[in-house]
Assembly symmetry: C2
Homo-oligomer: 434 residues x 2
């Protein structure tokens, strides 16, 4: 049996899970035998890690990035540093040294995936990244080989557990956004600096990865319109619920003829949509294929154990040699064309507007006029109760029929300038019928 | 690029989907290039198939089982005959002739999988069977490699679309069982002879396949307690709904220490359980792994297109050579121990009883006495309205706390002999808290 000697870079949350699983010789060894040998753990927190791992004979703990790369015994490098600087250097050097790479680093893949894939192919090596999207849910493998004979028509879902946790808690516990976020941080669901999650960038990174696999295209991160959940208010979640909808931060990729629609933003889904009920830190990915129809994969999208499950599956594929074959043969890993995207202004969805309007006659007519002039058709209007007794401003919620982003942006600009609307309080959410 | 020459046995519903996809050279060719060559289609309905396929130059339509097996050019045989006689012969001969096998035949695998896997390994060949469970949902691959580092604690779900369709329609349309089944047959969701589906055998076949992969054991079909949906009444679906539950035909596999609990039966799931909302002909498989936690995979579980998606993914893996590596290396495909099952009498669940009782004082006390003597604790009782006005028999619905199958069977035997209970009308359903 051929052995696969592994160097693990980064022994934080996920890395520690991977190291412990490899050292425990549990389920993986039962399934594929004694093929994987963890030889190096590379991290700067040597003492701390030594205390937890109690490294056995033969495992080298080091803070020297170069040592494992220079060791010809090392077959595969597992990059769990995160970020795009040291991680990039390690991956590039590992490939150049003839080692396969396993990573869960969506930021690295979103920003430099195209070059790194080229580099890997040039060296006859592979980059595996099941852990980069949706934790332990095997969504990358599902697209890569499970649906290899399907033309993917769309892929969408929830790929950021932090945002899903925040939105779920807001609604369930009637908490404002800031409190739900603080709770997520206390419970370890959100980083001390949660911006990557909250602003949608983490989701956009993952969409770049998914779009390459599903549609066979190279997407630049800056091509993807991206809105996070930072502006979301509890009142909008409540109004949406009353209308039969749940708010989720979605990544969306849809084939539109020869072009693609790619976007990241909060969106209202009908309560009975299979993704609407996916709460807490869970992820859900829906894939619509020409043959398979729609499949939905759900589970925990992050955390030590789920993500280490995915990383270990990649290590197994590398150790067996099957992944290198896939990587060399499958077109999404090779030279792919640049994505041709539908401009965001042309994207059509339904919309939810909440306007804080003066409680006076004629207001509705002014708003409706503008919407009509911009060709936006109103599906329903509800004037809500005033937020506090005695307020002379009342929230009015509009649901529209399908309308283009561009027209909606123009209409909202004009509406917000009306003297009867408190423009800075206006909220717009997209309604998805996927 | 190495070519993989394929012979397809059986060009019925799924086979035709596979043949058309391979001839169309669509998504599969885009992803893995021009590797797969369909050389033979073997079926007795030659004229009919010729009419649909319009076979191009180089594709041989034949009813001669032996010809492709004797052709040294053929690398892989796709068995879509179904059944366990001709299918078994073809698979055995193909392996002996040094060809890899792709099949979607759960009956064949459930009855002869262990010998066939041995035979394949002895010849250094592989049997791929993604299409045998849950149509195009890549559940086999998820367990085989996605969760290769996870100890699987449980696997359960809906794997028979026909039964799920019938149960869904009964409840949604207030239809009795027989009408829902007739509709399923009209719409092509159920076979003319629906017994394999309705009686649960098809689900049990699939559970044998899943248990081998998930738990690494060999299970005999006759070891699995199996109840279908034939006795299910609309009234029970309604009572269950009022109590907050939905009835589904489940396959269940749970690790209990060194033993396994494997069973197939209708079961009540709370409305908010992720599987409860999976309706129509959809399947849902939940897998609980030591690292990944619980993942849920849903989608269409049968039909031409979804199942052909799975078969094509297997063909791709065979063509790339990766599946043969997996098959040779992964322990569930090798010599596995026989399953050590928890005897059904020791299985514990909650229960729903519906008793048609005489509308007289003292009845409840008699029933409650027996339950108490058998150590079955009552969680709730609801006396329902009489089925028709003037009836002197009223349905009484009991929900119990957890109790052993053995005790429940004894209690029901005794209850059914009470003169105040119409024993032949008693219905029992298990309530799952998984």
């Amino acid at each position: 049996m051929q052995k696969c000697t592994v160097a693990l870079y980064g022994c934080g949350t996920v890395g520690m899970g991977v190291a412990q699983a490899l050292l425990a010789r549990g389920a993986l060894n039962e399934r594929i035998g004694d093929r994987v040998h963890l030889k190096y753990v590379v991290d700067v927190r040597l003492e701390e890690i030594r205390g937890v791992l109690q490294p056995p004979e033969g495992l080298v703990l080091t803070d020297d990035l170069a040592q494992p790369l220079d060791d010809p015994e090392v077959d595969a490098v597992v990059e769990l540093f995160g970020g795009t600087t040291a991680a990039r250097t390690v991956v590039e050097r590992a490939l150049a040294a003839g080692k396969d790479v396993v990573t869960a680093n969506k930021a690295l893949l979103a920003e430099h995936g195209d070059e790194l894939f080229r580099l890997a192919r040039a060296h006859g090596r592979a980059i595996a990244f099941e852990g980069s999207v949706a934790g332990g849910i095997p969504v990358i493998a599902a697209i890569r080989t499970g649906l290899v004979g399907d033309r993917i028509e769309s892929i969408y879902g929830i790929v950021n557990g932090t945002c899903n946790y925040v939105l779920t808690r807001m609604l369930e516990q009637e908490m404002p956004y800031a409190r739900a976020l603080a709770e997520a941080q206390e419970r370890g669901y959100a980083e001390a600096d949660p911006r990557l999650d909250i602003e949608g960038s983490d989701s956009a990174h993952k969409l770049v990865v998914l779009a390459r696999l599903a549609f066979g295209v190279n997407v630049r991160l800056d091509q993807i319109p991206c809105e996070g959940i930072a502006g979301v208010e509890l009142s909008d979640l409540r109004y949406a619920r009353a209308l039969g909808y749940t708010l989720k931060l979605l990544v969306i990729g849809i084939r539109r003829g020869e072009r693609l629609e790619l976007r990241v933003h909060p969106a209202l889904l009908r309560h009975d949509h299979p993704v609407a009920g996916v709460g807490g830190a869970h992820n859900a990915v829906c894939i619509h294929g020409s043959h398979v129809g729609e499949i939905v994969l759900t589970g925990l999208g992050a955390g030590r154990m789920p993500t280490s499950s995915a990383v270990i599956s990649d290590i197994a594929r590398i150790a067996l040699g099957t992944y290198r074959t896939d990587f060399a043969a499958l077109s999404p890993f090779g030279d792919v064309p640049d994505a041709h995207l539908v401009p965001f202004g042309e994207v059509e969805t339904r919309h939810y507007f909440r306007l804080d309007c003066a409680d006076r006659p004629g207001v509705l007519a002014k708003v409706a006029n503008i919407l009509g002039e911009e060709n936006i058709s109103i599906a329903s209007v509800r004037q809500q109760e005033a937020a506090a007794p005695g307020e002379d401003v009342v929230p009015v919620v509009f649901m529209t029929h399908r309308a283009k982003e561009g027209a909606v942006a123009r209409a909202l600009d004009r509406i917000n300038q009306l003297d009867v609307v408190r423009g800075e309080r206006t909220r717009m959410l997209r309604v998805e019928d996927i």
